[in-house]
Structure formats: structure tokens, C-alpha cells
Symmetry: C2
Subunit: 324 residues, 2 copies
DNA sequence: ATGAGGGCATAAGCTGGGCTGATGAGTGAG
DNA sequence: CTCACTCATCAGCCCAGCTTATGCCCTCAT
């Protein structure tokens, strides 16, 4: 079984245009003119023209129909532009995240967040915040729940996000999202065709592909399966979520992963979700703040972006933010 | 109401490293060594070292801890690398799609696909196909159902994908996915807090933000609401899904969009899904082939990648591929 | 202890992709 | 007819990033 072939295929940079080129293409699509797009991006018209041309040459595709009164995307160009938009959106999330990570301690909004939130949710919120309040400087510190609590109580952070069952003492909290864990297998695995849910007891006795002891996901899984005899010895223990996903995709066995981590793989059917019954595999993601210090100003702005509609059946928590 | 501020913020290329840099970072993360990553990417060690350094300078973040016996990611670096991975994955999808689009007519596998499939699903399938069968040359033609049927019947395509309620005559079909349409509103909209489902009749009388007449999504919506008095005059009619999303996010009103198109926005709570009752807003996405010409070879490989587990309650269609 | 080997940094020199600015040509409106 | 808009082409420049060569640091095995 040779499943360590994770070597990245070819250099993408040779075939995929750079971000500036993709942004230029999006601008052309939106404005209907090379010159207009050039103006928007602050470059000269010949630069835009040449750049699009070189993208077309590299891709071997006609992207834009030029005419003396403007430019429109070709059919191929429209499709390519849609794919390009996904790259640019991911780049925007990267940029927003990096800016927050770099943010100085004297930012107007200092956020301390657990890893899951920082990795998957916060960049999107920051983009939204940037649109609504363009000049809110945000700084981000990522760490575990203990660290988040420390920062908040020492007034070194204005708003925190934690994951897991317990709210650290001294903090008020509101659930902003739920991280659902799902059982996944590769498309070729027997469970992939399974219609009837896997009982918790069976899951507990099945060898899984997991991250090492100590990861948040694994803790939830441990707790959830404790009443069913606890977790069986893992089939494989890997160091990163990425490695786990790769192993599962290649059919090495089932795993339990955050829905946030496998959204794309599920959509593309690279992974298959297996229904499970008799066990509640989810954990709350909460915004937290020092008791009594109800978030105001920028912190309140961000918090309001994260508010999600109350999930069906999730009446345990209060419907509005409530002090703990 | 100033809702035409869709102007792209800043040039991302200035702050987000280029794809080669991001791939290099991923390789360093995976291999634990600058030199090793350099070797994998076919560049010299000083090039890798300098490149990482320049990324760190540009981002204002320490990404890598160098030591005389290797390099490990810093905490910031780990987070940045996670965000970088999303960009690279989007770039891989772009690359796979572009390669298929460019594919010559004499490719071993000629695919004709409807726009929704080509845009959202096919790139992922192609990536998976590339991993499993690295030297299958795929060509892609995107168009509507009629065009897909024509290509297949003229033997100019080996496998097709269509969306919508009807299978074109002369074709065998298998459902490979469902495109669920969801009612969405911006986070500030009154419906965002709504717990009780919106009845179909109310949806039918509400002004929505939609694409122009003729779009696939709108046809489904039209048909689904016909028994409830038909669609009310749209609040706003826009030319692209992107424009519709932007308007909805900015709170202009509700819309009905493909779940495939709004996955990211839902995850980040930029959009909120509104439950609806009394109307079935979904359409099947089907693989199709000329009756009797059951897919074989590369077409069969691709088809098997697209097979999804039978959805709960979806017993109407056969569970295996079946001739129409 | 000492040399080999792997890891990283620095320096010098080259190359080319991509930019600007000027210019020309096609099209449609007034 | 002329203006205003579009895009293409050309010449020249610049700098980001590459390679090769070298040196330092650390560890491990002899």
C-alpha cells in the first residue's frame, strides 16, 4: 500500500495566471473593457492588454472578445472567470487573515480565537467586517481555550472565540456556530454505499484514521463514544488534518472530521459522509468576552456578523447572547 | 441606496504571495526543510530560502522557524499555510478545468457538460481523475442540455452532464448529484431570524432578487411556484449570479440560489439560509450517454467518481445507473 | 575529537517578464 | 468630420527572482 504519494503534482504557477492577472480578468468581466479594468487596477491600458493576451497564450484559450467598443468574455472565458473567482476569494480570505495576524497589539479590535475558528470562519467574517467598516484594524491571536481566556481577562483581547463543551470561568458567551463532526470514508469504501446509519457501538469498535491525541476533534469524539465503550485503537495516527483527509480519500479507512474541513471534498464526492446514530458529534463554537464587559464598538460589529440563526432543535442555549 | 460598490478593494497581488510561493510554503510544511522543498519544486535551495524570506517580509509575519537541522512552521505559519492551501486547491481546480477546456477534440475522454456542472463540480472530479488515472486527457465542452445531447448523439462527446427535470430523448441517464436551491437573505434581513419556515405562498408573493429570465435556476423556481400562483415580479434582475449574491449580502432582499453557489457564503454567515415549506426546490444533475452506449473506459472511470450515495428519500430514481 | 553531511544564509551576476509612454487604427455618436 | 472611445503595437527600461559558489552551524558517526 503506497499511500505516501502526497507529492504535489506540477508547478501550478506555470499554468495558472498570477493573482493580479486573475483580478484583471474579473475586472474585465465586470466592466466590459480592458482599458476600464486597467484604470481600476491602476495600470496602463497596454499592460492590461498584454497581460490578458499572455494569459490567453499560456492557457491556450481565447478568454476575451475584443471589439472596438469594448470587450466581452468568450464562453470559455466566462467559465475560466468563474474558476478564477474562487481563487481570488480564497486569496482575499488569506489576505484578511494575514493582515489580522500581523495586526499590532494596539489595533482597535483584538481577537483571540481557537484554531478551528481562526482557520475556517474568521477570515470570512473579517472580509465582511472590512466591507462594512473598512477602517477597523483587527489583530488576531490564535490559541487554545485557556489562552483565549487569559487574553480576555488580562484585557489584551476584546473578543474571543472558543470551541468545546465548556465556557472558561469568568467569561460570557454566545454560540455563534456549531462544528459538526462527520464520519467520512473514501468513495470506494464499503460504508460509502451504506444507507442505514452506523450505530455508535459499531463506530466505537472500528479502527479510524485520526489525528494524534490532543486534537480538539479527537477529544470530542472520545467524549461522545465514552458511553459506548470508548474509542477503538486508531487504524492510523497522523499529524495533520490534511494528511488524515488524504489517507481517507485514498481509501485507507474511515475517519471523523469537522464538517468545516471536508466541505469541499464532500461536494466533489471525493469523500462520502456516513450517517451515524446514537451519538451526538458536534461541538459548539462560542464567542466569549469577560463577564460584564458586553462587547461594544468594533467587537460588537464583529459579533453581529457571526450571529447565526438558531439551529433547529438547538433550544438549549439562549437565543440571544447571554451572560454566563 | 448605493449598492453598486462592487469595486475590488486593493490589488491582492501586492500582499498575497504568488502561487509558486504558496506551493513552496506547503512543501516546506510537508517536508520540514527548505532545501527539500526546493528539490521537490525543482529550484535551488537559495531560491527557496529567498522566496520564503520575501514572503515573510511582505506579510510581516515569521512563517518558518529555521534551524540547522530543518525548518518548521511557526504558529502564524501554520495558520497562513492552512489559508494558503485553500488558494492552491482553488488553483488546482482552475488548472484542471482550463486543461479540459483547452483539450483537443481527440482527447481520450470528451465531456459535454451543463454550466452548473462545469462550473462547480467537474473541476473537482477532474482532479480526482487525474490522481487515479494521471494520463487521461479530458476535453470539456460546456453548453445547455440541447447542446450536450447533440454532441453525444453525434459521437462528438463520450459523456455528458445535464441539469433540469427532463432527460433529452435518446439518452441514458443516472443522477449524480442534486442541486438544491435555497432561499437566502443577508444577515440583517428580517427573515434571517425566522424560525418557522416560509410557506410557499408567501415566497411566491415576495419580490426576489433574481437573474434574468432564462437562467436555469429561475426556471426551476418558476415551475416550483407555479401551483402557488407563480413568481411575483422580481425586486431586482441582475445579469450574473455573482451580482445577485452581492446584492443579497448587502441586504437588498431575498433570493433563491443554488446551494453550490452559496456554500462559502453560508459557512461564513454572510448569507443566511431561510427554511421554506410546501415547495420542492431542487433539480437533478444527471450524467447522460447515448442509449445503449453504456460508458466504458475513461468515461466509466469519471462516472464512477461522480456516483453519490443515494440521498435519503430519493427513491424515485433507480439506485444504479439505468437506461432511460 | 574530528570529519562528513545536511541545513541554511549570503553574495554576485544574469535574464526576462511586465511595466510605461507614445503612437496608430477601427468604430460609432454627434 | 471630428471627437471620444476602444484596442494593438513598439521601444525601452527596470527589478524580482533565478543560479552558482561559498561559508557557517549543528549533529552524528567514526
Amino acid at each position: 500500500m503506497s499511500e505516501e504519494h502526497e507529492g504535489r503534482s506540477v508547478r501550478l504557477g506555470d499554468r495558472v495566471p498570477d493573482l493580479a492577472g486573475l483580478q484583471l480578468l474579473l475586472a474585465v468581466a465586470r466592466l466590459g473593457s480592458l482599458g476600464g479594468a486597467a484604470r481600476e487596477l491602476g495600470i496602463s491600458q497596454p499592460a492590461a492588454s498584454g497581460r490578458i493576451r499572455s494569459m490567453e497564450r499560456r492557457l491556450g484559450l481565447a478568454l476575451v472578445d475584443r471589439s472596438p467598443r469594448g470587450s466581452r468574455l468568450t464562453d470559455s472565458g466566462a467559465l475560466v472567470t468563474d474558476w478564477a473567482r474562487r481563487i481570488v476569494e480564497a486569496a482575499e480570505a488569506f489576505d484578511a487573515g494575514a493582515e489580522a495576524l500581523r495586526g499590532r497589539r494596539d489595533s482597535r479590535l483584538r481577537v483571540a480565537a481557537s484554531l478551528t475558528v481562526a482557520e475556517y470562519l474568521l477570515p470570512g467574517w473579517l472580509i465582511a467586517l472590512r466591507r462594512g467598516r473598512p477602517d477597523t484594524a483587527v489583530s488576531l491571536q490564535a490559541g487554545n481555550s485557556t489562552m483565549v481566556a487569559e487574553r480576555l481577562l488580562a484585557h489584551e483581547a476584546d473578543l474571543g472565540f472558543v470551541e468545546g463543551p465548556a465556557v472558561p470561568p469568568g467569561l460570557g458567551a454566545a454560540v455563534v456556530a456549531q462544528d459538526r463532526l462527520v464520519v467520512v470514508v473514501g468513495a470506494g469504501h464499503p460504508w460509502a454505499k451504506r444507507r442505514r446509519p452506523v450505530p455508535a457501538a459499531e463506530l466505537a469498535t472500528t479502527g479510524l484514521i485520526l489525528r494524534e491525541e490532543g486534537s480538539g476533534t479527537r477529544q470530542v469524539l472520545d467524549a461522545a463514544l465514552a458511553p459506548h465503550g470508548g474509542l477503538a485503537p486508531p487504524l492510523l495516527e497522523l499529524a495533520s488534518t490534511t494528511a488524515v483527509k488524504a489517507a481517507v480519500v485514498s481509501g485507507a479507512g474511515p475517519s471523523v472530521l469537522s464538517e468545516l474541513a471536508v466541505g469541499e471534498e464532500l461536494a466533489a464526492h471525493r469523500l462520502v459522509k456516513v450517517p451515524v446514530e446514537g451519538v451526538r458529534l458536534r461541538r459548539d463554537l462560542r464567542a466569549v468576552w469577560p463577564t460584564g464587559h458586553r462587547p461594544t464598538g468594533p467587537a460588537r460589529d464583529l459579533l453581529s456578523l457571526t450571529r447565526r440563526p438558531p439551529g433547529p432543535g438547538g433550544a438549549a442555549q439562549s437565543s440571544g447572547p447571554r451572560e454566563a
